[in-house]
């Protein structure tokens, strides 16, 4: 039997991987196994334009069917990989078939973290990850209904914005003291809280989920928080983070460390198995820490690296990560990872709805959050990668281009 590359998971990372394999001149067999019935598609619009009904379904596709045909990619969609054996180099599918590989790439992504409080399985409680989740959610989004969103992270807040646009009443419950708590500093979080309030979203921080209450038909009718308060709801969206899909890898005995552990080359603890995207946990030499990122950029860059390396190259991935989120007409662009910052500098005035928040360690620029500030965002990439020392006075002055706010002048 002819052997080749098998890619498990048919999402963002997988799409980049098959494209890269062919671009690099690989002529062997490529099999793409994905449990969703769809060709790889783009997830970001699922909480934004697609949810709002403003984007046609076929425009979500990362590549059309003709791409896979002309690049001879064997598609096994609607099929789940249930077992992996690194000894025999085989993958078992839920159809019972067993496929052989010479190299395997895990692009299994992540899943929404599920809550297990009383009432968690009532009708009308939603999560958002896939097109089928949108199919269930979208027809419930009609004007004047009440949605309670549990969790004020990106997905929760993007859905809140979309729901206001569609005329729903929106309450957001967040356990932390501020929204987007884990990812941005308070000036940025305060700014977004104000924008949501202006748009009519009711944000309730310091409220922890205790359970869901049912109406006589067994459908959710309210959310209860640990202080005893009840929040009436016609439907609920839970957005409390994601967990890497590591089941297959773990059962195969691969090293797991909040994700499938990979080295700088995207190689797992087995030399014939690589991993990329939301499911992978990789050491960053720039930030000197392990990172598991859930972003399109990360899926793209890791998949590209993995595909090249499994064909025999040895390219380390250490690009500065970036991310975006759209809420209303606000475009948040983030570059870098702010985790170890010890001081923050605000550039510009949030009331103008265009500003940048810079995260530094000492004078070194680690990361930036740019709100309607594409220019700073673009300029930041090189400054962060080069570990540039910034001049804090000039940095705080938005009239000084970011590129020129360096310590050297």
């Amino acid at each position: 039997m002819e052997q080749g590359v098998i890619v498990i998971g048919a999402g963002q990372a997988a799409s980049t991987a098959v494209e890269t394999l062919r671009k690099e001149g690989f002529t062997g067999e490529i099999t793409l196994v994905g449990d969703e019935p769809e060709l790889p598609y783009s997830r970001p619009p699922l909480s934004k334009k697609f949810l709002a009904g403003e984007l046609a379904e076929e425009r979500l596709l990362l590549k059309a069917q003709s791409f896979y045909d002309s690049h001879q990619v064997r598609l096994r969609l609607g099929t789940r990989a249930t077992q992996l054996s690194t000894q025999t180099r085989t993958v078992t599918l839920d159809t019972g078939e067993t496929l052989n590989y010479s190299k395997l790439l895990l692009c299994t992504g992540s899943s929404p973290r599920r809550v297990s409080v009383p009432g968690h399985d009532l009708q009308g409680i939603h999560y958002l990850r896939s097109k089928s989740d949108v199919a269930r959610l979208a027809h419930e989004l009609t004007a004047n209904r009440r949605i309670v969103i549990v969790g004020a992270g990106y997905i929760g807040l993007e859905v809140a914005a979309t729901c206001r646009q569609l005329g729903l009443q929106v309450d957001v419950l967040e356990m932390a003291e501020r929204i987007m708590n884990r990812v941005v500093a308070s000036p940025v979080s305060d700014f977004f809280a104000q924008e949501h309030a202006k748009a009519g979203v009711n944000i309730h921080t310091r409220h922890s989920l205790a359970g869901f209450l049912a109406d006589p038909q067994g459908r959710v009718c309210a959310v209860q928080t640990t202080d005893g308060a009840q929040w009436p709801a016609d439907l609920v969206l839970v957005g409390v983070g994601g967990l890497p899909n590591t089941e297959l890898a773990a059962r195969a005995g691969l090293t797991i460390d909040n994700g499938v552990a990979v080295d700088l080359y995207c190689q797992t603890s087995d030399p014939d198995v690589y991993a990329a995207g939301d499911c992978a946990n990789q050491f960053s030499t720039h930030y000197q820490r392990r990172l598991r990122l859930e972003s399109v950029d990360n899926a793209f860059e890791q998949a590209k690296t993995a595909a090249q390396n499994l064909l025999g190259k040895s390219l380390a991935h250490d690009k500065i990560p970036w991310f975006w989120s759209d809420q209303y007409d606000l475009k948040l662009l983030i570059s870098g990872i702010n985790m170890d910052f010890d001081q923050g500098v605000l550039r510009g005035d949030p009331s103008t709805r265009s500003f940048t928040y810079c995260y530094l360690r000492g004078n070194e620029l680690l990361a930036v959050d740019c709100i309607n500030q594409a220019k700073d965002y673009m300029a930041s990439k090189r400054l962060i990668a080069d570990r540039t020392s910034m001049d804090l006075m000039r940095l705080a002055d938005i009239s000084v281009p970011l590129r020129e706010a360096t310590a050297q002048g």
Binding site: P44, P45, K63, W322, W324, K331, K375, M378
Partner: protein, 104 residues
């Protein structure tokens, strides 16, 4: 059918049918020699950078807003630079010639 003429990074010319009514990016990202378009057309990544052939430049509306800001920071920027996710392809642009800009 409206055609696009694409000059790849090696200087080779390709004639392809352009998808009308959507951005050029949606045609170019399917090509092996095309653009990465990582953000999928949200004008957030600048990985869909192209140069428009000078004879066609005046037929396209000028870049604005975020597109202009992103373009200004690219080292490979030229006066003919565009982010192709912000350029709508229409049958009236039959024959439009663009070149793929280098990776940054």
């Amino acid at each position: 059918m409206a055609e696009l003429v694409i000059v790849d990074r090696d200087g080779a010319e390709h004639r392809v049918e352009g998808k009308a009514g959507v951005s050029l990016m949606e045609t170019l990202r399917e090509m092996d020699y095309g653009v990465a378009a990582i953000c999928g057309g949200m004008c957030s990544c600048a990985t869909c950078h192209i140069y428009v052939d000078e004879t066609w430049l005046s037929r396209l509306p000028a870049p604005q807003g975020d597109e202009l800001e992103l373009l200004q920071e690219l080292t490979s920027r030229r006066p003919t630079s565009r982010l192709c996710c912000q350029v709508e392809f229409t049958p009236a642009l039959d024959g439009l010639k663009v070149a793929i800009a280098p990776d940054e």
